[in-house]
Amino acid sequence: MVGFVLFLVLRAHFVPRTFGQYGHYRGAAVGELSSKPVKFAGHQLCEGCHDDVLKVKSAGPHAHVNCEACHGPQAKHADDPGEFKPQLPDTAVLCARCHEANIAKPKGFPQVVSAEHSSGVACKTCHIPHNPKQMPGEKHS
């Protein structure tokens, strides 16, 4: 009897309260893991405010490239646009990440050898990043 009571007391002390709630693990861990904050806000949130950019982007080959793929994590900016201003990426580096020629890339994907193509000149000098088919100065359709 004393041993059994001791077992219950020790069990209550050492085994987390939610252990076994859903299975052989601490049930509360699920809630703790899902409550972590996000850093990438998601393109739906960006598009809510920047619909002008969405319009330009949708007309070109970058239509399915989400905003934060180039602009980085913007959850803080989405929470407080006045306090957190995103920095414009350096297109000479950014564009090359995807478009630098590599034999392992799919054959139909647009690729250039940037040293020959632009010699380090920023890509946005000649291309509009949101719609590379448009030239700078051309009116957004």
């Binding site: 059994f4 252990f19 299975g23 861990a29 899902s34 793929a69 990440r97 034999i103």
Partner: protein
């Protein structure tokens, strides 16, 4: 009238019931019901350009320590028919992209890799304390407050998807961005993939656009002979990929 003997009989049942009373509601995402979902991922190898956006996004979103990876990209080179001996490289997990290849012929392609969120995962089976587990929506997670850091799971994963966190000394792995998917967002790697090579799939949702793709394409999992119930499904997977 309850006798002393009956009272003792009831004690264990009461203890179990009390545990459930104390448990409360653990889900932090109020509009999310675990049993409505069954998560997996679709990776289309023919779309991967090896840009490393997924690796960088994962590192940022999940505070992955430098030099460790929850997801990574491998570059394969297969000479003609030499499927048994592919040349594979993955500098910094592909995080900074890939330098030009020294190969000019043969088959060359990128393969993104990550935890396969196996339905019958070897890693959860070996955990001695229940610190790693499969959720009811099909995600394999690690409870780092309960993990002992014994490394059994790291050895058991046949895909090499786990590592020991260098500071916390607990097991780490892809959580399928559980903090995002329970809020209705996609994973950080999928959100940032510029070509749509990665797509989060809810295998329980017939309206998920990836379901139609799965119905009409020949997809494969890594190491199917292990019967782990892997839920990362590859389109265009070459036989040389290990």
């Amino acid at each position: 009238m309850i006798t002393r003997r009956h009272f003792i009989y009831l004690l264990p049942a009461a203890a179990v019931a009390w545990d459930f009373v104390l448990a409360g509601t653990p889900e932090a995402a109020p509009n999310y019901t675990q049993t409505d979902h069954w998560w997996g991922m679709l990776i289309d190898i023919s779309k991967c350009i090896g840009c490393g956006n997924c690796v960088r996004a994962c590192s940022t979103e999940n505070d992955v320590p430098e030099g460790y990876f929850r997801t990574w990209v491998e570059r394969y080179h297969v000479d003609d028919w030499h499927m048994e001996s592919p040349k594979v490289d993955s500098p910094k997990g592909g995080k900074e992209g890939f330098p030009p290849s020294s190969y000019t012929g043969g088959k060359n392609f990128f393969v993104p890799k990550m935890c396969n969120h196996c339905a019958d995962s070897p890693c959860t089976q070996v955990c001695p304390v229940g610190a790693t587990f499969e959720t009811r929506d099909g995600v394999v997670l690690v409870d780092d407050t309960y993990c002992l850091g014994c490394r059994y799971c790291i050895q058991a994963c046949p895909y090499g998807c786990r590592f020991l966190h260098p500071k916390k000394h607990t097991a780490e792995k892809c959580s399928l961005c559980y903090h995002r998917i329970t809020k209705g967002l996609t994973t950080a790697c999928c959100e940032n993939c510029p070509t749509g090579a990665r797509q989060l799939v809810d295998l329980k949702n017939p309206k998920d656009p990836a379901i139609e793709f799965l119905k009409t394409h020949s997809v494969q999992v890594l190491k199917p002979h292990l019967a782990t119930g892997a839920k990362v499904l590859y389109n265009g997977l070459d036989g040389s990929v290990r």
